[in-house]
């Protein structure tokens, strides 16, 4: 089944066209690796998918339904709903320095639970008032409080599980500055997983790391196999081994795409061959 389809992505910054019409699709549960030289538009593509940039043209379909169209104007609220379908792990981690690891993971979900509890209380109050139940306000407030408490407990539990999954259960009370780069990036992965996105994106997740720390992060990503993921990466070996599909980007277009065997083993395009040769892959 097709999870993601991107059609006709174009993006211009001032006079430079960074994306010149990008189309691709990604089946559910597969891992897509995007490779290419710096400036080829890989990161911009990922940022457009996460609504950090608005493409000038293009459409995103999720599970066959239109999720976003660049020509439409979305309200802030709609945009937030759409954003939640995608997760993003940044090159520079971007953990919140003033929260411990666990809170970094749970924060967004907690804020959402609080909003939900507020809606829950409002609706319950309205319902109780319409039924002329005595002490409607107090009841609604108490119910909402219990609802929130349960949700927050679940969230904390889930955050713990996710940290455990990325191998950091004993670091849940550490602040980001107390963690190594590799550990920070794994917390960031747990944080992105917390909202259970339909498509999880990684923007050069190991580029900011010392070579000896990249393995632990790649291992964490590998352990997520089965999720639909897009990984922009410079780690050719990783792309080759883990990806189900590889896209090679050059000058804002998809120069070549296919299985890792096709792209790495028998590249059709001269640009791909040149790129791989420079990387020592051919």
């Amino acid at each position: 089944m097709e999870r993601l389809r991107v059609e006709g992505f174009r993006k211009k910054f001032h006079d430079t066209e960074v994306l010149k019409g990008v189309d691709f699709c990604l089946p559910k549960g597969e891992i897509l690796a995007i490779i290419g030289a710096s400036g080829s538009g890989k990161t911009t593509l990922l940022r457009c998918l996460n609504f950090l940039e608005t493409p000038d043209a293009g459409k995103i379909y999720l599970d066959g339904e239109l999720l976003a169209d660049a020509s439409a104007h979305y309200k802030e609220r709609e945009l937030r709903e759409k954003r939640k379908k995608f997760g993003l792990v940044f090159q520079s981690f971007n953990l919140f320095p003033h929260y411990r690891a666990e809170k970094n993971v749970s924060l967004a979900a907690e804020l959402m639970a609080k909003e939900e509890a507020k809606d829950f209380r409002r609706n319950l109050k309205r319902e109780l008032l319409s039924q002329k139940v005595p002490r409607a306000r107090t009841t609604a407030r108490a119910e909402a409080k219990a609802f929130l408490k349960k949700r927050l407990e679940d969230i904390r539990l889930r955050a713990g599980e996710l940290l455990c999954k990325v191998g950091l259960s004993e670091k849940k009370d550490s602040y980001p500055y107390e963690l190594s780069g590799g550990q920070q990036q794994r917390v960031a992965i747990a944080r992105a997983l917390m909202l259970d996105p339909e498509v999880l994106c990684f923007d050069e997740p190991t580029s900011a790391l010392d070579p000896e720390l990249t393995d632990e992060v790649l291992r964490a990503i590998r352990s997520l196999k089965g999720r639909t993921m897009i990984v922009v990466t410079h780690e050719m070996a990783f792309a080759r081994e883990v990806a189900d599909k590889v896209i090679f980007m050059a000058d804002g277009v998809i120069e070549e795409q296919g299985t890792p065997e096709e792209v790495f083993g028998d590249p059709k395009s001269e640009k791909t061959r040149a790129f791989l040769r420079r990387r020592g892959e051919q």
Partner: protein, 215 residues
């Protein structure tokens, strides 16, 4: 009426006025400065231009002139009278300090890596949530040192209130001086020093409290 105890008592009364002006100004100008900061960073050009012009005018003219303008302006321009002196001077101080604070806030916000905002966005947070849950503490950590500078300056700037005849501590001391008693004027320094000393300790405490935020 010239012994140490009664002079101290008189000066304390004046210092009460000083403190009153100080605290009210601070309480109002801190949030007002934040609002101005948002205005000066707005993507809506007219608003940004207006706010930046205000900040330019206020930072570009003497505070003493502003106090006089706020107090006499309404009468000179529109013939409106009846404003009390203390609220007028507080208004002038709030406008002035809000402008200075706004630049500190703006610098602080702009110094926070864009990735922090983006991480919040990607996690589906609202702009308000991003500001208060992600940015605010990091901002506070960065602005405490420059803010403490301005706030300490405010303590001493309150003495400008005497240009519209508000009897704060320096004015009290000057009244003594006019009557031939000079030393109370120098004695006022002690009040300022003590007050600023307490503030300094407070700021140091705040900085230590927030030192866990490594940026």
């Amino acid at each position: 009426m010239t012994d140490f105890a009664s002079v101290t008592l008189e000066l304390l009364k004046g210092f009460g006025v000083t403190c009153y002006i100080f605290f009210i100004t601070l309480a109002l100008s801190l949030p007002a400065g934040l609002i101005l900061a948002f205005g000066s960073m707005s993507r809506f050009t007219p608003l940004r231009t207006v706010v930046r012009t205000i900040v330019w005018v206020i930072r570009g003219t003497p505070l003493m002139l502003q106090i006089i303008a706020v107090f006499y302006g309404p009468y000179l321009l529109f013939g409106i009278t009846g404003f009390d002196r203390v609220p007028s001077v507080i208004a002038a101080f709030v406008i002035n300090y809000a402008c200075y604070f706004s630049e500190i806030y703006r610098g602080g916000i702009e110094s926070i890596p864009k990735g922090q905002f983006e991480a919040g966005q990607v996690l589906g947070m609202t702009k308000t949530q991003i500001f208060f849950r992600v940015i605010f503490l990091q901002l506070l950590r960065r602005i405490v040192p420059p803010m403490s500078n301005e706030i300490i300056t405010l303590v001493k700037d309150t003495s400008l209130a005497r240009v519209i005849s508000i009897v704060e501590i320096i004015m009290v001391a000057q009244n003594f001086a006019r009557a031939g008693l000079i030393w109370p004027l120098f004695y006022t320094g002690v009040f300022y020093l003590l007050f600023v000393g307490i503030l300094t300790l407070l700021f140091r405490f705040l900085e230590r409290k927030m030192s866990f935020i490594k940026v």
